[in-house]
Symmetry: C2
Subunit: 443 residues, 2 copies
């Protein structure tokens, strides 16, 4: 990006990452007296909470993603750059990305998180996680191919292994994945095969802690477990994975044979801590002060899943979309206040509650003191998620798809795509894994 | 597939390929006294005529593809196998596919076509074609990345090269691709960039023959050319490509610099001729007799784009969907007639006409003596294509998407996805090309 002297008339805010946090900051700067540059390695904003529906063939990628340029098209002070950031130079106030050098007056780092294997990075090959669209279509291919391969597999033990699905991690993603795979197997695919019965697939949800959804009230954890079991999911609590290979997982005393293992057990922040040379916690989150800026760098902010920010009780904010959005809004407000010579109080999170869905008509929701489970919670969940999906078109497409899936139990997007299409060798992980599964070794 | 003696009670029809031809045959055998086995290398049936809309971000892959198992679910005499066929043994009446050996009493080969480079197989790397979903998402990535890269490209000549798009071949696919890219550039993307103006993109349609759409009436060829030029497409007629590299194409006396070249100039049949050891024409199509069977093999049929069948005047049937569908139906009828001890007259094609669309509200249509162009033809085209899309859900999704695109000029599926996501290196073709672009050297 050529340096243009005239640009110095307005101060420049560079936002790295157009997830919930970064996009919220960029949008809030719409009328601010800044030039805003948004850099992302993808050309779309992803509505991550519904990614599990892409992985289980309920939605198309385009239903839950919207082009960043389209979202910010009418925001004349904003430029979008598609590039992968490689470094940040805090001496020269410069971001480097694929040969570009982009200088900034204010920097907002919102690069999100990736899955973490707690020091067992080799498990990534056997137990892919779910953070990007490529992860989701890869998982979709793996899950659908397991049924396809089972259909023609002559050896009973291998057929069993192909029809066992293990989901590791009992947080919202794990709960939602397990429920969705159960419905895929027991409903959508039930009548589609001739030599296997997909309804005999075992879906096993493994959680190391004593209950599912630990961030929810225990009564809702129990409701979620009950709902999953009604869907036919086996829930193993207090069961930590101690090993993982291409044929299954080993828990404490138990071995589960499975060709499909899905990792929903942990995330770690993106490498932003390394770029910033900043202090990070074990999950890679960058420690920030009360106004979400980097200690000693009042013009560099870290927000969303990349940040370790503490509330007034010294507790970290949870890694959820509402925190990310509110932090983005906060930093934008702060920059605008400062431009007017004002100060802002520290960031505060307004918690509107949390929800997780379990299959086709059940969910749990916790909103302040209100705790809901079952069908009513599911309706609330659906309405909220459709509402928050960015862009009218996506809302319409998602609502149409859901109405269709709900009425028919079908899954419209059951396509096995990808570079190598339907080749069975795909069952063993190889170089075609999505890049996010090939993250660098955890230090 | 284990050989089971009991199966011999019913004769077995094996159908290779679930495109228009194979699927039509399989569906027509629904109530026939046969066991039917459908083998395809993909788990979905693809509505190929709309593939160009996936490549230009108008539709999602799932909008134009439906799982084969879902389509044939209620057809109890039919089994679907996802596998890539490797050989056919006509001595033992056996099909080999990924370790499976599937014997047959009757065989229907309907494996379609792939793009052909007329002996210049090396051009495949520079000028990808459009036959599969992976081709389409690859082209979508290439096209969208060209604009993205142009936005940050400092060198004017390279920026120009990035904004030049060449479509080779003036048949329906080339005409439709060129029109769709023009609308993408001049409408959907028009306001999304800051340093480039996508409306300045040049879209160049190159046809070696004297007119576009040679299978249509010359008046419609002219109407198509006029419509394309109104959309801003440059049409070069009588211009054969003599060379092709990563920076553009060379025509007779002219060189066009372009980083995106799309091949829509020719197809050749799948390798079925090799499998069958049969006589094939230069395009790889297998010569069949009047009842579409292989000479000397009355129980082996070749249909659709894989077949070279001649009408009563000795002219080959065109490689279009209606021919494929009618041939599938014909062979099914023939097998059922034979099972009752009856004979059938030779295959006859009932030509209901042809259509091609040019952008958002223009098309040409030729139905018997009726010739239509402009908006009315476009309405007819839209209705026909939505009607013929398999499955209610897809029809609904496509209609919704089109209504949305029509009303807003937006493209909802503008996602750059794929193993390597947004990396700019993707601009130079590498090992991540879809497999269909890596076809074996043409003999």
């Amino acid at each position: 990006m050529a340096q243009d002297d005239s640009r110095k008339q307005r101060r420049r805010v560079v936002v790295i990452g157009a997830g919930f946090a970064g996009l919220s900051a960029a949008k809030a700067l719409r009328n601010a007296p800044f030039d805003v540059i948004v850099i992302d390695r993808h050309n779309y904003h992803l509505f991550q909470p519904l990614l599990y529906q892409v992985a289980t063939a309920g939605l198309s990628p385009a239903d839950i993603a919207a082009p960043i340029r389209g979202i910010l098209r009418d925001q004349k002070n904003t430029t979008v750059i598609l590039a992968r950031v490689s470094h940040i130079d805090l001496e020269r106030n410069e971001v480097g990305a694929e040969g570009l050098r982009i200088d900034f007056d204010h920097l907002i780092v919102a690069t999100g998180a990736q899955h973490a294997y707690f020091g067992h990075q080799d498990w990534a090959a056997y137990a892919p996680g779910l953070k990007t669209i490529d992860d989701a279509t890869y998982l979709r291919r793996r899950i659908l191919l397991a049924f396809e391969k089972a259909e023609t597999e002559p050896v009973a033990a291998e057929r069993r292994r192909l029809l066992n699905f293990v989901v590791v991690g009992g947080g919202p993603t794990g709960v939602e994945m397990a429920g969705a795979i159960a419905e895929l197997a027991k409903r959508a695919l039930a009548m589609d095969f001739r030599s296997i019965d997909p309804r005999c697939a075992r879906i096993i949800l493994v959680e190391a802690g004593p209950r599912l959804l630990p961030s929810f009230d225990p009564s809702l954890s129990e409701a979620a477990r009950h709902s999953l079991e009604q869907l036919g999911v086996e829930v193993h609590l207090g069961a930590a994975v101690i090993d993982c290979d291409c044929q299954g997982v080993s828990l404490g005393g138990e071995r589960i044979e499975a060709r499909t293992v899905i990792w929903a057990a942990g995330v770690m922040a993106s490498p932003a801590g390394d770029w910033l040379g900043a202090q990070a916690d074990r999950a890679g989150r960058v420690k920030v002060v009360a106004d979400l800026s980097l200690p000693g760098h009042p013009d560099v902010f870290v927000i969303g899943d990349t940040a370790l920010a503490l509330d007034e009780y010294g507790k970290p904010f949870p890694g959820v979309a509402p925190v990310a959005k509110q932090q983005g809004q906060y930093v934008a407000d702060l920059l605008m206040a400062r431009a007017r010579g004002n100060e802002m109080p520290p960031f505060r999170y307004r918690d509107f509650g949390a929800m997780a869905t379990i299959g086709r008509k059940r969910a749990v929701a916790q909103i302040g003191r209100l705790k809901l489970s079952g069908f009513l919670a599911w309706v609330l969940w659906s309405v909220a998620h459709i509402y928050f999906l960015i862009g009218f078109r996506n809302r319409l497409a998602v609502a149409t798809n859901w109405a269709w899936n709900y009425l028919t139990f079908q899954r419209g997007t059951r396509l096995i795509t990808g570079i190598s299409g339907a080749r069975m060798q795909d069952m063993t992980p190889d170089g075609e894994m999505p890049e996010s599964a090939r993250v660098r070794e955890v230090a």
